[in-house]
């Protein structure tokens, strides 16, 4: 068995893994990237559409163009990486076990680990669509890989279930390939991906978007022959009599993404409701010295946000190695962050008291769309310690807040805070006046 040592091991070489590796190498710490695929870049390589880099580089790039800028830096900095290598286990002592076909089993002792494994797509089984199990059912990302990487078409005529970003992008992509996209079907009353994708991928190509409908049956014993869609009520229960049949030979599913945390779980870290690991404001998981960033922590809307989060994780790992690693520094306690009204989940899950003088970056998603809202943070006594107005919130757009608690008037005394998104109080008054 081969043994290596590295200050930091990064699992995954997508947007998150590469950005954090570059941060660490810049500080002259040793770092090793482990990638299970044949090349660096992760899922971004198959995202050949544009819309990347507006935040990070202030220009519009395709996925491969965007990730190549990071790959070039990795190569310039001579950061070592292992390809075609699968991590099979990580331990609390920061031992990483991986296999590949050249070196066999590899053991790497790290001081810190950054988890950057990304996410995977929800499948048909996860949403339990009844019917036959023919060939011709794909997740949108799988179809994307076939078309953009392998050069094969998975079908001729499509129905896409779910208006997630990948689903809408694939609707356009397949139309360009001369395929027919019969409809994009969305169970919610609104599009679940970004507005720009609704306009650029569906409306510009006259692809019908059918909201408040879902696929309730799959037809075809050997290959998909069509799907039945049904209208749903507010509780997502099917409305009987609303069924429509759409003929197609392929069903694509774009029904959500789940952070991929098998390794995290097996290492003994705790996960939160969104499927990502529980982290503090340093993006450190419940295992000391193990950090998480990118889609393995929470599913992001834009790759630019992934890179930014990964850079933070990298900086925090450096700080950990330089100050806390090997030193027993007692914690001054933790403040729990709780998702309140119209907040689906919140990251971080905890804030360290000793970090209250630093900027804390919160990211969260709302449960439902709303306009003219107030985002506020309350302590256990219901004192509002922070508030901010926002014109609108929608579930497809992650909200980010940067707060330095020491600079606020009200200090946090309690052991937990609640983040909530509520209608603006003055809006209510205006309505009263109208009445």
């Amino acid at each position: 068995m081969k043994s290596y040592k590295s200050d930091v091991v990064i699992i995954g070489s997508g947007a998150a893994g590469l950005a954090s590796a570059i941060e660490i190498k810049k500080e002259d710490l040793s770092v090793l990237i482990i990638e299970r695929d044949k090349e660096l870049g992760g899922i971004t390589l198959q995202c050949i559409h544009n819309g990347f880099g507006l935040k990070e580089f202030q220009e519009e790039l395709t996925g491969p163009e965007y990730i190549q800028r990071f790959i070039n830096q990795v190569l310039d900095l001579k950061i070592p990486y292992l390809l075609d290598t699968m991590v099979i286990e990580i331990t609390k002592d920061k031992l990483v076990y991986a296999v590949n076909n050249e070196e066999g089993l590899i053991e790497i002792q790290a001081k810190a680990i950054i988890l950057a494994m990304g996410c995977r797509e929800r499948t048909r089984g996860a949403i339990n669509i009844p019917g036959f199990r023919p060939a011709g059912i794909y997740t949108a990302g799988q179809a994307q890989r076939f078309v953009n990487i392998e050069g094969y078409l998975p079908g001729n005529s499509y129905v896409i279930l779910g208006s997630g970003d990948i689903g809408m992008i694939m609707a356009r992509r397949l139309t360009w390939e001369g395929c027919e996209v019969k409809a994009v079907v969305e169970i919610l009353p609104y599009v679940s991906g970004l507005l720009r994708n609704q306009v650029q991928c569906l409306e510009d190509y006259d692809i019908p978007l059918i909201t408040s409908y879902t696929v309730t049956k799959i037809h075809g014993k050997d290959r998909v022959q069509g799907v039945t869609i049904s209208k749903v009520d507010r509780n997502f229960d099917r409305i009987i009599g609303s069924e429509k049949f759409i003929e197609c030979d392929t069903l694509l599913l774009s029904v959500g993404l789940i952070p991929e945390n098998e390794l995290t779980l097996n290492a003994g870290a705790d996960l939160s409701k969104n499927g990502g690991p529980i982290v503090d404001n340093n993006l450190e998981t419940t295992i000391e010295g193990v950090f998480a960033c990118g889609n393995v922590l929470q599913v992001h809307d834009l790759v630019d946000l992934v890179s930014a989060e990964a850079q933070r994780a990298g900086k925090n790992a450096i700080e950990y190695i330089n100050t806390r690693y090997g030193n027993d520094i007692p914690s001054q306690g933790k403040i729990k962050c709780i998702a309140g009204d119209n907040v689906n989940y919140i990251k971080p899950d905890f804030i360290n008291r000793e970090d209250l003088s630093k900027d804390v970056i919160f990211t969260f998603r709302v449960n439902f769309p709303d306009r003219r809202v107030q985002i506020q943070i309350k302590d256990e006594e219901n004192n509002v310690i922070y508030k901010r107005k926002k014109v609108y919130v929608i579930p497809s757009e992650m909200v980010e807040l940067k707060i330095n608690f020491d600079k606020l008037e009200n200090k946090i005394e309690s052991d937990s805070i609640v983040i909530e998104v509520i209608p603006r109080p003055e809006v209510l008054i205006e309505e009263d006046e109208v009445l």
Partner: protein, 497 residues
């Protein structure tokens, strides 16, 4: 085909393959015909995978004794064939006091008929200790320690591989169209060939009545009865025991059961249908099994479901005995034609006992059954990445680098296991064939990551283009063509114009 087989088995399910393997120890010429692209693709694929203790069937049914005998035969078979199987024991769960009497009756009759270890447990604490996920409403259980769980398709692959090792010929994609006979030789016409045999064993599952009618035997019918299942992720719930409710007239009820691979499933319901290809799940059916399962395990992890599927039971109606639902295992009036039909539950448990019976029939028919000198009953255990220690793994990868290339991340399956599945006797030819042999695509991502890679490997190993790789045979290909093909066509057309 000029060979005249001594025994031709129609149907490559668990019954047909078990008979083939049992007979493969004799110096006779055997062939198995399967209509689908792979063996184990009918009823064998979609069932509960339970090896029953044998108390459940009525004493008037031949299936009761075959089940009790079959259960016992699993121990030796498992030692020889190395398929995934454990005896984890089953509970029949009484939720009302008045059901205890029924359980006591089952226990008494079971013990009289030679089922060992049956016990009635009324101590709720003990029950909950043995199965912590069981409902609080339980008042007593019938514990059958000899019951177990098996992977039915992996058992079938093991049987077929061992049979093939011992000289049995397997022919897939051979749908029987017509059977005729001349001078005590059957001629079996299939979609693409003609096979000749002295004896035929009809193990055609749902289509057994159709095959029987081809030789003029019209005394039974097979009706499909659908059962639907939901499978849960391995991390979501862990059960120790197979949990049955008190049975109904038509089935053993909706059970909640661990699989041999550590998942949990709930199902099946029982729905009489007419279409023998209708393995579609239904909204109502999925709700029915969830509701049923919750009676036994209230905290079913519905959010962690990874797949729903359905299988069809081959329910026989025998017009001679006027019985519904008992096995039809007959040395028929057509000399040399043996029916092994209507093998519904507990057929999986009974397969080894059924094969013994067929052996006796063949002896009665005068076939000389002499044991081969080179008969090898051992089918070596497939090597699995997961079973290796870290040191062994390192060694294995050095010996063969394909051990180090992981294709399926959910189940941790390396390329080597997939290559083994393709190159084994009666090896995999389809994506489903690989999935059922070594599990890539069985996990929580259901093939999202590994499917393109599995298609690539099949295409490479079978020397076929990726478009010809199928899910499970004809009309089930994954890819319809290359990108830009359409534009090439358009440009060519424009150029012509």
């Amino acid at each position: 085909m000029t060979t005249i087989f001594d025994v031709l088995i129609i149907g490559g399910g668990v019954t047909g393959c078990c008979i083939a393997r049992t007979l493969s120890k004799y110096a006779i010429n055997i062939a198995v015909l399967e209509k689908d692209a792979d063996i184990a693709s009918g009823t064998t694929k979609g069932n509960s995978g339970v090896v029953h203790a044998g108390y459940a069937s009525s004493r008037e049914y031949v299936r009761r004794n075959l089940c009790i005998r079959g259960n016992k035969l699993y121990t030796q078979a498992n030692e020889e064939l190395n398929f995934p199987f454990i005896r984890n024991g089953s509970f029949v769960v009484a939720l009302e006091d008045k059901q205890i009497k029924y359980l006591e009756g089952e226990r008494k009759r079971g013990i009289e008929d030679g089922i060992s270890g049956l016990e009635l447990i009324l101590d709720k604490e003990k029950i909950r200790y043995m199965e912590p996920n069981l409902t609080d409403d339980v008042v007593g259980v019938l514990h059958a320690p000899t019951a177990g769980i098996v992977s039915p398709y992996e058992l079938t692959f093991a049987l077929a591989e061992n049979a093939a090792m011992n000289g049995v010929s397997f022919f897939r994609n051979e749908k029987v169209k017509r059977i005729s006979r001349q001078n005590y030789v059957f001629k079996v016409k299939t979609s693409s060939n003609e096979f000749k045999a002295h004896n035929i064993i009809n193990a055609a599952g749902l289509y057994a009545a159709k095959i029987s009618k081809m030789v003029g035997l019209d005394y039974f019918d097979i009706m499909p009865r659908k059962g639907e299942y939901i499978l849960f992720d391995r991390n979501a719930l862990h059960l120790n025991k197979i949990l049955f409710p008190i049975p109904t007239k038509v089935s053993k009820g909706i059970l909640v059961c661990p699989t041999i691979h550590g998942n949990t499933f709930v199902g099946p319901n029982a729905q009489n249908i007419t279409d023998k290809k209708d393995i579609a799940t239904t909204e109502a059916g999925l709700k029915e099994i969830l509701d049923g399962g919750r009676m036994l395990v209230p905290n079913l992890p519905t959010r962690a479901s990874i797949r729903n599927f359905a299988g069809l039971r081959a329910v026989p109606y025998n017009s001679i005995s006027d019985k519904i639902g008992d096995f039809i295992i007959d040395n028929t009036d057509v000399y040399g034609f043996i029916n092994v039909a209507g093998i519904l539950s507990p057929g999986l448990t009974s397969c080894f006992a059924i094969a013994e019976k067929v052996e006796e029939f063949l002896k009665l028919l005068g076939l000389e059954l002499k044991i081969k000198e080179d008969y090898n009953p051992i089918r070596p255990k497939p090597q699995r990445f997961k079973d290796f220690s870290k040191a062994e793994l390192d060694e294995k990868i050095k010996e063969d680098p394909t051990w180090g290339r992981i294709i399926c991340r959910c189940e941790t399956i390396p390329e080597k296991e997939i290559l083994d599945a393709i190159h084994a006797p009666v090896g995999a030819r389809t994506v489903d064939g690989i999935k059922f042999r070594c599990r890539p695509g069985m996990g929580r991502c259901q093939g999202g990551f590994c499917r393109p890679r599995v298609i690539e490997i099949l295409s490479r190993e079978l020397y076929i283009p990726p478009e010809e790789v199928t899910k499970r045979g004809e009309y089930t290909s994954f890819l319809v063509g290359k990108t830009k093909d359409r534009f090439m066509e358009i440009t060519e057309r424009e150029e012509l114009e």
